[in-house]
């Protein structure tokens, strides 16, 4: 398993993500600056949380047009694993790699708290360490976590089983309480909560660890 974390100006969860990944895969994880243009050889690419480009215009809008995005699309198209957390999720929707959009939270507040999520399915690269229907606790920390799609897209992603996680109690107005979605092929996941912040019992819990351990176990199956 060879993994990297993409770094944009004002990414701020990139190093947490690197630590979380390195704990699970026991190998150094590269940090890749957004001006780079090649991701050949990586099995897993992670777009981390933060406030890339100060959320100017729309959250994730500028980062989604960075030079690295062509390589990220190529990586996803060849079946490589791609994970976007928080701002990373926003970037992947803006880049149209994942469906929908993240809008301002319905109550207009920046929400920073632990939330309970339901794991919708455990037959993907990202969730095989959980049970389907399992409740896990992870922190959310965002101003724009309100997931939205048009009716047609919503029907499609629900029908395809593309919903990865749902909030047990909807904190932000997300449609159908959606906290994370897959692409149609299932090799790309975006979610607003931060699993990388829960990989150490000293820091509040380890509900994020099974996701990173699962990615390690999946390494042999990544498409070429």
């Amino acid at each position: 398993m060879k993994a990297c974390v993409i770094v944009f100006p004002a990414s701020n969860c990139d190093r947490d993500m690197q630590v979380a990944l390195e704990r699970s895969i026991s190998k150094p994880v590269d940090m890749v600056w957004h001006r780079e243009s090649d991701l050949t050889g990586y099995d897993l690419v992670v777009v981390p949380g933060g406030f890339s480009y100060g959320d100017y215009l729309r959250c994730g809008a500028m980062a989604a047009r960075s030079p690295i995005m062509a390589a990220i699309k190529k990586h996803a198209d060849r079946g490589g694993l791609l994970l976007g957390v928080c701002n990373g999720f926003q970037v992947l929707t803006e880049a149209e790699i994942l469906p929908g959009v993240l809008m301002r939270n319905a109550n207009l507040k920046f929400i920073c708290k632990d939330v309970e999520l339901t794991v919708e399915r455990n037959d993907t690269a990202f969730t095989s360490g959980y049970a389907t229907g399992q409740k896990i606790t992870t922190p959310v920390a965002d101003h724009d976590g309100n997931y939205f799609t048009d009716d047609e897209t919503l029907k499609r992603i629900e029908g395809n089983g593309q919903v990865a996680f749902r909030y047990a109690e909807n904190p932000n107005g997300s449609i159908n309480s959606i906290a994370g979605v897959y692409n149609e092929r299932g090799n790309v996941l975006g979610l607003m909560p931060h699993p990388e912040r829960l990989v150490d019992s000293e820091l509040g819990g380890t509900d994020g660890t099974p996701m990173f351990d699962a990615l390690l176990n999946y390494s042999g199956k990544v498409g070429a």
């Binding site: 215009l57 729309r58 809008a61 047009r65 803006e94 929908g100 959009v101 809008m103 301002r104 939270n105 319905a106 109550n107 207009l108 309100n146 939205f148 799609t149 048009d150 897209t153 107005g173």
Partner: protein, 80 residues
């Protein structure tokens, strides 16, 4: 050539900022407000003298960056 772009949320898309503005205006005792919707206004100055070509270019900019057409509409006005 100068142009402006208005980016607005599509009908039916929740606009909590518009709602908050509406509530605050009502709190200031402005009466009879049916709805407030908030959008964005962008001014552009581009090196193009043909209005049709300018519009075409700006349309591509809107689709490529300035608007997210999942939730937003945009309207282009060529000024001069």
């Amino acid at each position: 050539m100068k142009a402006t772009v208005h980016v607005t949320l599509k009908n039916g898309v929740l606009d909590p900022q518009g709602k908050a503005i509406e509530h605050t205006l009502s709190g200031l005792e402005f009466k009879g407000i049916n709805e407030v919707r908030q959008g964005k206004f962008i001014e552009l100055d581009i090196n193009e003298t043909d209005p049709a070509k300018a519009r075409e270019q700006i349309d591509a900019m809107c689709r490529g960056l300035l608007a997210n057409t999942v939730i937003e509409n945009y309207e282009i006005e060529i000024i001069e």
